[in-house]
Symmetry: C2
Subunit: 222 residues, 2 copies
C-alpha cells in the first residue's frame, strides 16, 4: 500500500508527521514524501528541513495521498504541477486526504466542489469560498476524501483512516504504540473552548491565513 505525503516549501511539520507516524505503522505500508522535485524542503518557520524522497513524476499511483497545510499552501494553490498531479493521482487513489489548510490545496485542485470538508478553524471561510461545504468537525469522511482540522488533527485523522483501512484492532494497536492518550494541560484547542482573548490573539496574528497570493505569488504569513 503506497502512501504519499506531499511536501512543499513552508509546510507545517506536524501536519505531515502526525499522519506519517500513524499510517507508516499500517501493515504493508510503503510511505514516502513527495515534492515537485526530490530533495530538501523547509518548514514554515525555517527551523526544520525534511527530505522529499521522490518527485511527483515518480509517484503516479499512491493508494493514500496526504496533503498537509502551512503558509506555503498559498503558493501551491496559485497553480502548477502539484495541483495537476493531485487531479491525476486522485483518479486512482483509495483515499485522498488533507490536514489543516491542505484542504485549500485540495479545493484549488477542484476536488472539494460541494464536498463536506474541514480545515484549520482560521481558514473555514476561505475554504467555503473555494467551493467546499465546510463543517467545523475535527475529521470529515466524504466518500474517499478525508479532511482534518488544524495541525494536530492529522493524528486523529490518521487513526480513523487506519481503522477504515486495516480494522479497529490495528488502529487501536497503533494508538497504543504511540501512547496517544492525550492530556493537554489546557482545554483551549478549539475556538469555542479557548478564552476569548486567546482566540482574538490568534485571529489578529493570522488575518492573512488562506489569502490569495499577490501578483508575484508570494505566500502570505499564517
Amino acid at each position: 500500500m503506497e502512501i504519499a505525503i506531499v511536501l512543499y516549501d513552508r509546510f507545517t511539520a506536524l501536519d505531515a508527521i502526525g499522519p506519517y507516524e500513524v499510517l507508516s505503522r499500517l501493515p504493508g505500508a510503503e510511505l514516502y514524501f513527495v515534492a515537485t522535485v526530490p530533495g530538501p524542503v523547509m518548514t514554515d518557520n525555517g527551523m526544520l528541513t525534511v527530505e522529499a524522497e521522490r518527485g511527483i513524476r515518480d509517484a503516479e499511483r499512491p493508494d493514500i495521498i496526504v496533503v498537509p497545510g502551512g503558509p506555503g499552501e498559498v503558493h501551491v494553490r496559485a497553480g502548477g504541477e502539484v495541483l495537476e498531479w493531485l487531479v491525476r493521482v486522485h483518479e486512482t487513489s483509495t483515499w485522498t486526504t488533507s490536514v489543516c489548510t491542505g484542504s485549500l490545496i485540495l479545493a484549488a485542485a477542484g476536488l472539494l466542489d460541494g464536498v463536506r470538508a474541514t480545515t484549520h478553524w482560521l481558514a473555514r471561510e476561505q475554504l467555503e469560498r473555494l467551493g467546499a461545504h465546510v463543517v467545523p468537525d475535527r475529521v470529515v469522511f466524504e466518500g474517499k476524501i478525508v479532511t482534518a482540522a488544524g495541525v494536530s488533527a492529522g493524528i486523529d485523522m490518521g487513526l480513523a483512516l487506519a481503522a477504515k483501512v486495516a480494522g479497529d484492532t490495528v488502529a487501536q494497536a497503533i494508538q497504543l504504540g504511540i501512547e496517544y492518550d492525550p492530556q493537554p494541560p489546557f482545554d483551549s484547542g478549539a475556538p469555542e473552548k479557548a478564552p476569548p482573548e486567546v482566540v482574538e490573539l490568534l485571529r489578529s496574528r493570522s488575518r492573512h491565513i488562506g489569502e490569495t497570493p499577490d501578483a508575484a505569488g508570494t505566500p502570505t504569513t499564517a
Copy 2:
C-alpha cells in the same frame, strides 16, 4: 532562547516533531536540530530523513534540550559523544527534557539517578533498572528535568513546558494555533485502557524495547 532537539539514527519522528511544533512557537525561540555530526538523519522506519542543522560541538549552551526516543536510543546509550554532550549541556540548561525512550538516554547519561521520571509504557521496567524512580504519568516535572511518556506525549509535554516558560496565555495560544483539541477515535492510548489483546499484541512485538545492545552495539528493534 535556544532549544536543541537531539537527533540520532532510528529516532521516532513524532517524539521530536511534537515538541518542535509547540516549542518553536514560543516567543524568541531559536530552535535547531542537533546530531553528532550535522546532516541527514533517518527515522526508525527508514521512511523519513530529517536534517540535523548543527553538530553537538556547535551547540554548547541550549536553554532547552529535547531528547526523543526510538529504537536507535539503544545505540546512543551504549556510550559516546551524545552522552558526554548531554552531561555537559545539562549543567547550564534551564530545562532538560525527553520524550518516550529518550528518558533511557538521559538515564544512561546519569541524569535520572533517583529522579522521578516517565517513559514509553513498554520501557518502564528498563528505565527503573537504569536508576530512575519511574511513575506512570504522561508528563513528569522534577526540578529542571521533564520527561514525557510515549511518542505523542511530547505534545502535552511541550505545552506544559511552554506554560512554565512563557505563561498560560502563550501556551493556550499555541494550543489553539495547532488546534490541539484531541478526539482520538478509540480510548486505547494507554495500557490500562486498551483491550487486553491489543496490549498483548504490542508486548509480544516489542519485547526488545530498551534492551541492552549486543556486543557489536547493534540496536535491537522496538
